[in-house]
């Protein structure tokens, strides 16, 4: 397991996996300028400052990526997995959208090519909102091959089981 930890989020990655945890706040610079593959204007209200972003993948992540994986989803092959955690501000924790508590476990049936904002041939996705340790997150998982979901989803769940979220503030604070 390769450890990855920052901003109160930690995870042990299986061999060959890679990932990055970075801050999405205005002080972080260019990452906040990227256009996400799934724009979520209805989820990020004006004045709200999104927090940490976690990208985990079993393929080589390009250095330049959008918060929701643009730049990475385009190069995914059928066996590729991309797991994204996007943190929302503390004001979102008590909203109905984030009512679900705890890091989710996913089922094969939940994945649907139509869950991707920008449909890419053969791929499917799943987006879930949840709260954990007083923090609000959007979990977004992309499978490179929808037909491989029977094999890929258990691997995703194994990674999610190793995810630990602690009740702390944003990176660097």
């Amino acid at each position: 397991m390769t450890p990855l930890s920052a901003g109160g989020v930690s995870v042990g990655l299986p061999s060959g996996w890679e990932g990055e945890i970075f801050n999405r706040g205005p002080e972080a610079g260019e990452r906040s300028l990227n256009t996400p593959a799934i724009p979520a204007p209805n989820l990020v209200s004006e004045g709200e400052v999104a927090r940490n972003v976690v990208h985990l993948a079993n393929f080589a992540l390009p250095a330049e990526r959008g918060d929701f994986g643009s730049g990475a989803v385009e190069i995914m092959n059928s066996g590729a997995i991309l797991v994204i955690l996007f943190e929302h501000g503390p004001e979102s924790v008590d909203t109905p959208l984030f009512a679900r508590t705890g890091v989710p476990q996913l089922t094969v049936d939940e994945f649907d090519p139509q869950q991707m904002q920008r449909t890419l041939s053969g791929q499917s996705g799943r987006q879930i909102f949840f709260n954990e340790a007083g923090r609000a997150f959007c979990l977004y998982v992309v499978l490179g091959g929808h037909r491989q979901r029977g094999v890929l989803v258990p691997i995703v769940n194994e990674v999610l089981r190793g995810l630990v979220i602690e009740p702390v503030g944003p990176l660097g604070s």
Partner: protein, 258 residues
Amino acid sequence: MASRLMDPRTTAIVTVIVACLTIVVILLTVIVLGLLRSHGEMLRAFNELGVTFGNDTTDAHSGARGTTTTIPDPQRKSVPHAKDLVVARAGDNTVFDISGTTPKGGALAVGLTGRNERTLLCFLTSGCATCRNFWDAFANDAALPRSVDRLVIVTKSNDEESPAALNNLAPRDHAVVMSSQAWDDYGVPASPYFVLVDGATGSIDGEGAATTWTQVGSLLSRAEADVEAENERRIDSELRKAGIQPNDPTLYPTDAES
């Protein structure tokens, strides 16, 4: 007036003393110049090996600490140099995934195995003069060699490196991970240093030092050509052992077969 004049004997003594002092000063000047030249030659020699001392190349505008002195392990026989870049690794061939931080303060893990691609790990520092060649090349979108699928820059952790300096140097197109553990895992003796990892086999294809990116590219290309030539020789040899000579008709399909 006459009382102010020195007697001839005193004048002679003073003249001798001044002459002696002049000679001593000239001798000391020659010695100091010799030492400075020797010092410069040593620094140049160290620099060619990728070793820098102190903050000799610190960018004053970047606020870099520039104290990333790298000294080769004295137990190691020698620092592999450019000519050794793509030779088989003699020692431990283990590939390690890399976990560390980014210059911006985030966390980054780089996976290297279980994928059909070759990764070139570039171990650089922010203060080493030779490393600057590579930072500049990467900032100017230097093309990757044909045999390399991606490039990952590995620096020491932030207790030995300056994140602020790295922020100014880090290229947009390549990952920069700060991990002293990776330097230990791969036994990096000096900077800049390069390790070529084959993800498909989970092995290290080669390693060594070079002074310019162009040199790295040409060495990798040459090594690639050597491997292809060796494969051709091996195939010819196996065919000969099977009794098949060059231009043997069995090597070419007949019209009926094709």
